[in-house]
């Protein structure tokens, strides 16, 4: 029988953290949990950047190939609705930040109220997108078999495809955000968050800010490239 000495020393007893219900079993301290959660969300957002990045790359390549068509296609976009959506999302980022402030200062009503407002803004955004998508459908701008090939060129169809895939993917992220924020509102209402613990809320907020930032890139590329016309576009 052999035994050996290894330089492994143990100093900590098995853990005290069972007293803190918010501390998950794999973490040793709340600080570690908070740090890991935030880092995890930042890593996730970097993957999202790479995914949307692929679409932006395609957009840029085809804009270089078909500048004319790209310019004309943006004239079919409704920049007013797009602009409203931009304001709506930016405001929703503000309300979600405010809800985190509410958790940090133990103001549950502020937290829940602002989360609900954020969700409301997100719904407004999606309703606007529905209005825009229907308008495009009626104008024969939906790519594929519904596209009006006699009136519009193939390159315009390509632009519209990028428009729908990019805003569609973004819209799915908004929808997921609504689900996440609703869950956060529920947890907040159940008194889960307080000044000592609001990690999930902050992580959700980070996600929402990212959704907002993607839109801020999409809006000029998809709506404003052709210049703004009054009454010309729909």
């Amino acid at each position: 029988m052999a035994d050996s000495t290894i330089a492994v020393t143990s100093t900590q007893a098995v853990e005290v953290h069972h007293e803190d219900p918010a501390l998950k079993h794999q973490f040793d301290t709340p600080e570690q949990q908070y740090g890991a959660s935030m880092f995890g969300m930042w890593m996730f957002l970097s993957t999202e950047i790479m995914m949307f990045g692929g679409l932006f790359l395609g957009y840029i390549v085809y804009r270089a190939l078909y500048p004319q068509a790209w310019h004309e296609a943006t004239l079919h976009q409704n920049w007013i609705i797009g602009g409203i959506n931009t304001i709506v999302l930016i405001t929703s980022s503000f309300t979600v930040a405010l809800s985190i402030y509410g958790a940090q200062t133990n103001k549950k009503r502020l937290t829940v109220g602002c989360l609900l407002l954020t969700i409301l803004f997100a719904f407004v955004f999606l309703v606007n997108k529905y209005i825009e998508y229907s308008a495009h459908y009626h104008e024969g701008l939906l790519p594929g078999k519904w596209f009006n090939t006699t009136e519009y060129s193939r390159q315009t169809e390509l632009f519209m495809l990028f428009y729908f895939v990019m805003t569609g993917l973004h819209g799915i992220h908004v929808l997921i955000g609504i689900l996440i924020l609703s869950y956060m509102a529920y947890k907040a209402w159940k008194n889960t968050f307080h000044s000592g613990y609001y990690t999930p809320l902050e992580v959700a907020g980070l996600y929402w800010h990212f959704v907002d930032i993607v839109w801020i890139f999409l809006f000029p590329l998809l709506y404003l490239m052709g210049g703004i016309t009054f009454g010309g576009g729909h």
Partner: protein
């Protein structure tokens, strides 16, 4: 706060009543809803083994067909789908997940002295996503399969193919998220869950390689996801994103596809390199020579790997200048791999080397990976690549790395950590025999393919010119031997679960932190959180060792 130096007894027998992660709950529900990284590793082990069997069956069909120059076993469509599904299943459902999700999941938290990964629920979700994606791909397979090769080049894949491209492409899209989330989990775990005293340069080399792999998984896979999504959209809607007839650019697809798929090959090989570092160290009873160089070489490979994708497109119509840049970078990316090979060899110097099964696989890896890597030089060199591109030379090159390298590392790691995972020893003689059979069968299968590729036999050919037959016959003969070598472990490893010798706590006398816990470990891994005061593989500080 008292500091106690623990004496670890290597040969303490396992008591029947001891509770470990396996026997803590036998119900199916406890397995399907587990948050334990070790159980999740076992779940992955089962799923990817099943996928490997499927992918091997496709390979068997291919090799059987290629015994004769005519297309007499399968018709052209069936053959084209067979090689496509072989590639897709092996790459996305086996090679990319294997070491990280099976061995990495099991061992990473223990190597860090942690109780679990940073996000255990996300870990379980990764497995479910993998299964869901695999089911999509299987659905595509059952419907008749896809063709086009695993590379899906448009406009063939988007406009002309008559096979089930969409479910298969969507399946890969879904499985990609499993890969992304696992990578994310490992990165956060490595950054935030290290035990006290475990600084970055005290981490075992397996952790470094998993970390580098995770970086690639997280940053590259989303690009594949969006590329495949666009292929599916184009196929369904008929809009010309990549089809020239509709104004699209097929080369754009190739750039986007290879931007992921080249780094993907590093996802596949880096974990294998990490395993080999662990095995060489343990079975020579020495720390790895040039530890820092090997650790940083892993990260260098990950970073460099993002810069060379165009070497898959030297004859695709990209500009000569782009070709030159990619060629130069591709030569440079070989250097960190060479550094590792030299360092592993130097580790053997003045070591105390034993030749158990894991070590045989590790040494086999070094040999075959060296050959595979060197044959990459022919392909990185612009002029020779013109001749060799899309021939069997390329097929042989990547199989040397993926099978000769990755598979051997996976098998070596599986045998090495088998006692830790199951509490049982596998039969050593059968292990050695299988390793030998695999080595012989592998070389016989793939070395002739270098020759037949140089002679001009293109890849993805259902029928071929008769002068290539002798090489194909040799290759198929080798494949049958290789098949035997792969099947044997399935049987004796399963056998060992019931009748294998009970494993001592540290059968290999390894200095790894994961071996300082009971075998098999309890759910929370460590009875007490360790504090680390030395570097990894510190064999010289271990006074005695146990020969396994």
């Amino acid at each position: 706060m008292a500091t106690v130096t623990r004496t670890v007894d290597y040969e303490r027998p396992i008591y029947e009543e001891e509770v470990n992660y396996l026997n803590t709950d036998y119900s199916l529900k406890s397995w399907l809803f587990t948050l334990d990284h070790k159980r999740i590793g076992i779940l992955y082990l089962i799923s990817i083994s099943l996928m490997f069997i499927l992918g091997s069956a496709a390979a068997g069909l291919i090799r059987l067909e290629l015994l004769t120059p005519q297309g007499d076993l399968l018709n052209a469509d069936a053959y084209n789908r067979a090689f496509t599904m072989h590639g897709i299943i092996m790459v996305f459902l086996f090679l990319i997940p294997s070491i990280p999700t099976v061995l990495g999941n099991f061992v990473l938290p223990m190597m860090l002295g942690a109780r679990d990964v940073a996000f255990p629920r996300l870990n379980l979700l990764s497995w479910y996503i993998y299964v869901f994606g695999a089911l999509w791909i299987l659905a595509g397979l059952i419907l008749g399969g896809a063709d086009g090769g695993w590379t899906f080049y448009p406009p063939y894949s988007t406009t002309y193919a008559n096979s089930h491209i969409v479910p298969v492409a969507l399946g890969i899209f879904i499985v990609g998220f499993s890969s992304i989330l696992t990578g994310l989990n490992f990165i956060v775990t490595t950054h935030r869950m290290r035990a006290p005293g475990l600084t970055w340069f005290r981490l075992p080399l397996f952790v470094w390689s998993l970390y580098a792999t995770s970086l690639i998984q997280v940053l590259a896979t989303p690009v594949l996801a969006i590329t495949l999504l666009l292929v599916a959209v184009e196929r369904v809607l008929g809009v010309g994103i990549f089809s020239p007839q509709l104004g699209g650019d097929p080369i754009l697809f190739q750039h986007m596809f290879w931007f992921y798929s080249h780094p993907a090959v590093y996802i596949m090989i880096l974990p294998g390199m990490g395993v080999v570092s662990e095995l060489i160290a343990c079975f020579s009873r020495k720390n790895v020579f040039g530890y820092k160089f090997v650790a940083l070489a892993s990260v260098a490979i990950a970073v460099y790997g993002f810069l060379v994708w165009g070497h898959h497109m030297f004859v695709a119509g990209q500009s000569v200048y782009a070709g030159m840049i990619f060629s130069a970078l591709s030569f440079l990316v070989a250097i960190p791999s060479a550094i590792k090979v030299f360092n592993w060899t130097a580790t053997l110097y003045k070591g105390s080397i034993s030749f158990q099964t894991p070590m045989l696989y590790a040494l086999g890896f070094i040999g075959l990976f060296t050959i595979g890597g060197l044959t990459g030089l022919y392909l990185a060199a612009l002029a020779t690549d013109v001749h060799l591109s899309d021939t069997y030379f390329v097929v042989a090159h990547f199989h040397y790395i993926m099978v000769g390298g990755m598979m051997l590392a996976y098998l070596g790691g599986l045998h090495y950590w088998w006692p830790k995972m199951t509490g049982r020893m596998y039969p050593e003689l059968l292990g050695k025999l299988s390793a030998l059979i695999v080595f012989i069968g592998f070389n016989l299968t793939f070395f002739p393919q270098f020759i037949v590729g140089f002679e001009g036999m293109p890849r993805r050919y259902h029928e071929y010119a008769s002068q290539y037959q002798i090489f194909n016959v040799l290759s198929t003969a080798g494949a049958s031997i290789l098949g035997v070598g792969f099947i044997l472990p399935v049987f004796y490893l399963l056998w060992s679960l019931k009748w294998g010798e009970k494993a001592p706590i540290n059968p290999w006398g390894s200095a790894g932190l994961e071996w300082q816990t009971p075998t098999p470990p309890p759910t929370q891994n460590f009875l007490e959180t360790p504090v680390i005061t030395t570097g990894p593989h510190h064999y010289s500080q271990v006074r005695e060792e146990v020969v396994g």
